[in-house]
């Protein structure tokens, strides 16, 4: 992992607080987005879509701020907000995080379209794993319609979510360049 060199002088308290706040942004915004996604708007649940997009994007472009424990926390939040058996969100988001981290050398340089295409694969795997785990843990084969709807939502929402997160990412990069 490439780490940026520290400035020679020890950073002051404010600079440290600033860096800490910046490091917390990905996790906090993803969690907040997931909480708001659980609000009843009459749509099928977009909560897993938001969680997956957040973990994928930040693991790819700012892995320092989305370490594995944070991905674990996001998964736990997703499971506790929903009614599904515990552990499904945790495992899918952790695997997404690990795989995104592996592929980031290749993927982070690519154009948006290619990243989206890769994300489609991630979404397919995540929804598939979720479906299988749901079937195993509840010991009952769930119908495939919600899984397909979830896959469509997960893929379809990514450009919007990625655009928002890219804005945040750029703003953070600007702030880092100034600091």
């Amino acid at each position: 992992m490439a780490r940026q060199g520290r400035p020679a002088s020890a950073p002051g308290l404010l600079a440290r607080l600033d860096a800490l706040a910046r490091a917390a942004v990905p996790g906090v915004t993803t969690a907040l987005g997931m909480i708001l996604a659980a609000a009843p708007v009459g749509l099928p649940s977009i909560l897993p879509a938001v969680g997956l997009a957040g973990v994928f994007f930040w693991s790819l472009f700012r892995p320092g701020s989305m370490p594995a424990p944070v991905a674990f926390g996001m998964g736990l939040l997703q499971d506790l907000l929903g009614f599904a058996p515990l552990g499904i969100g945790v495992l899918t988001l952790l695997l997404t995080h690990a795989a995104a981290l592996r592929l980031r050398r290749v993927l982070a340089k690519q154009s948006f379209l290619l990243v989206w295409l890769a994300y489609c694969g991630f979404a397919l795997l995540a929804v598939g794993i979720g479906y299988v785990l749901q079937a195993l843990l509840a010991w009952q084969v769930p119908s495939t319609t919600p899984a397909i709807a979830q896959l469509g939502l997960t893929i379809g929402l990514y450009p919007l979510l990625a655009w928002l997160m890219a804005c945040v990412h750029r703003a953070m990069q600007r702030a880092e360049a100034l600091a």
Partner: protein
């Protein structure tokens, strides 16, 4: 912050993913083994977030309002002709209902019939969709003014919506009748045949286990049955429709896709069940026979 040497840090970073994946399997086992703990932590999270949802309810409500307004404007003409037709039909029904009410009162006087007490209900706001991909549930905001108990029945303004399955300090979770784990004893109003209404996670729950020779017919009205002493008899549920597979399904009166307020009924069934069966966490509520 503790300063670690770089190789140690790298080793820790490499180890954290496998360890956490093992922990994920651990949470799965925990979720299977200790459902009470999971339920408590879910309700703790829900209680924590309930004020946040209450704040977000206003803007979300505004968004929903705009969407439904657009729908209304688009279908104005169709809607008004439908309403006129429905109004005519309802006028005829009103006349029939008044006649029946008078007749009923007359017959009751002759039988010295003791009517059921009018049920008490409280209204609660739906603050979050608590289902996820493979479940159908909603979260309602409760509070000191609104005490909710496990097993109470939730109706929207038209019909049965679900029942309370988990209760926290500031919120409660309602399992909707469309959920895959929902089993509701019902009666077909025309033939008085009993059946089970089984959720499928789709919009229309299925009917199962009706008595042989009493096949539910499309258009039959479905109401709850007092069979299991969890529901009072006669709550409006829906209308029988024959699905694409030929299986009878129930078109619900309740509009489960746009719930915003729910009426939580206290039917006093705790007097029939032993009181502790209602108050304590009941693991048998979801997987019913």
């Amino acid at each position: 912050m503790i300063r670690l040497s770089i190789p140690l840090r790298q080793a820790l970073a490499r180890l954290s993913v496998p360890v956490l994946i093992a922990a994920a399997f651990g949470t799965m086992l925990l979720g299977k083994a200790d459902t009470v703990l999971v339920e408590r932590s879910r309700m703790a999270v829900a209680d924590l977030l309930a004020p946040l949802y209450a704040v977000a309810a206003e803007p979300i409500g505004a968004v929903r309002q705009v969407v439904s307004e657009a729908h209304v404007l688009l279908n104005l003409r169709e809607e008004s002709s439908r309403l006129r037709e429905e109004n005519d039909r309802l006028h005829r029904w009103q006349a029939a209902a008044l006649a029946l009410e008078a007749e009923n009162a007359l017959l009751r006087r002759q039988l010295s019939f003791v009517p059921d007490p009018a049920p008490q209900f409280r209204t609660a706001r739906v603050v979050a969709d608590a289902g996820g991909t493979y479940a159908r549930a909603v979260l309602i905001a409760t509070g000191p003014y609104l005490q909710v108990q496990k097993g109470q029945v939730a109706l929207d303004e038209r019909g049965l919506a679900g029942r309370v399955t988990e209760v926290g300090g500031r919120s409660a979770r309602i399992l909707l009748v469309t959920d895959m784990n929902s089993r509701i004893p019902v009666v077909l109003e025309g033939s008085r045949a009993r059946a089970m209404m089984v959720g499928t996670n789709g919009a229309r729950p299925r009917l199962q286990h009706w008595p042989s020779g009493m096949q539910p017919q499309a258009g039959d009205r479905v109401v709850t049955s007092a069979e299991s002493a969890t529901f009072p008899a006669g709550l409006p549920v829906g209308i029988v429709r024959i699905g694409e597979t030929g299986w009878p399904e129930v078109e619900l009166f309740a509009q489960l896709d746009r719930l915003d307020l729910l009426r939580i009924f206290e039917f006093g069934l705790a007097g029939i069940l032993p009181p502790e069966a209602v108050a304590r966490p009941d693991p048998t509520i979801r997987p019913r026979r």
